[in-house]
Amino acid sequence: MKGLFFIVTIVIFAGATSASAQSATKYFINNREIAPESVFYFNQNDIDSIRQFVDTDTNVVFYTHRPEKILSYHQLLDLHLINKSARNLQVDLSEATNIKSPEKLVFSVDRVLYVSIIYRRPVNTKSVWIASTYESWDQKSEKGSLLSKLRRRFNNLK
């Protein structure tokens, strides 16, 4: 009985530790915090370098000197001629659904294929769907392989 209690405690502790480690990873573009799902929408050429800093938290920072090529979620809606009422709708991406903080999403302009307003029946609700173009990250380059790793890491967290 004692042994069982010990094992259960260890399992719970390990689970809690890994969960806190996962949630502690923050993503930035230059000095701005972004939603982790943004990694799916980066064009490799728009990113100069990627650095990972591990302290109490893990911070992944994407550096760019072409910030005009990276759009915020609201700028993306504007570009696709969608009005401000859509900002409150649920957001789904090609790779991830029901994004928690869509206002923190950022996108390379070329990686967005289209932004669609979907009408769901019979519930009669609307949502935003952002479709991405085919990714062309160069796996041999440091940036490309790191982007792929981050993507895989994010997929594993789902």
Binding site: L81, I82, V115, I117, Y119, R121
Partner: protein
């Protein structure tokens, strides 16, 4: 010699005149693939592509008229007959401007070319007059701005497929929808055709 040369000029002039008379008599149609009937919804003219996205549940009656019977609506645009539709739920059928508003697009989006996308790959067509285009809300899956093989952005309406019963009215509408689908397939450029063996 001069007389012989003059004869050619006279023949050419006559041909040119005949061509002018013929084109004045022929209604202006976009191209030879165009086979769309004249459409009336609740007595008002609508773009025939609307047939693609009308929900059978919203239709009270559907009457197909032959080109001869359709002459009452004038010679122009009735070459392929006419379709008269009366609706059950007119509020559920939106025009182009209402669709833009419902799908949260800005007013500038109205200036874009408009395309109805109703299947896979190349299954899309444009209305002749988007201002006359109408769609049942239940038949619209989504709207978006995209390129789809083209250079310029266009506004797309994507059709929703619903399982429907096979009543006489439904079968009639299905055959009209199929003929529009065939038009889309005829328009596919040869280099984009996919052959399934």
């Amino acid at each position: 010699m001069i007389m012989k040369g003059m004869r050619y000029y006279v023949v050419l002039l006559m041909l040119f005149f005949a061509h002018g008379v013929c084109s004045a008599q022929t209604p202006t149609l976009p191209d030879t693939n165009y086979r769309r009937p004249y459409l009336l919804i609740d007595g008002k003219r609508a773009d025939p592509l609307s047939l693609m996205v009308l929900d059978k549940e919203d239709i009270r009656s559907l009457v197909v008229l032959s080109p001869e019977q359709a002459l009452k609506y004038g010679k122009e645009n009735t070459r392929f007959g006419a379709v008269e539709i009366t609706t059950l739920h007119p509020k559920e059928i939106l025009n182009f401007k209402q669709l833009l508003k419902f799908f949260l697009f800005k007013k500038e989006a109205a200036k874009l070319s408009f395309v109805v996308y109703f299947g896979f790959s190349d299954d899309f067509l444009s209305p002749l007059d988007k201002e006359l285009f109408m769609a049942s809300l239940s038949k619209v899956q989504s709207m978006y701005m995209g390129k789809h093989y083209e250079k310029d952005f266009k506004l797309f309406l994507s059709k929703r497929y619903i399982d429907e019963s096979k009543t006489k009215k439904n079968v009639l509408l299905d055959s009209l929808v199929q003929s529009l689908g065939m038009e889309a397939r005829r328009r596919v450029p040869k280099d984009r055709e996919i052959i399934i063996r």
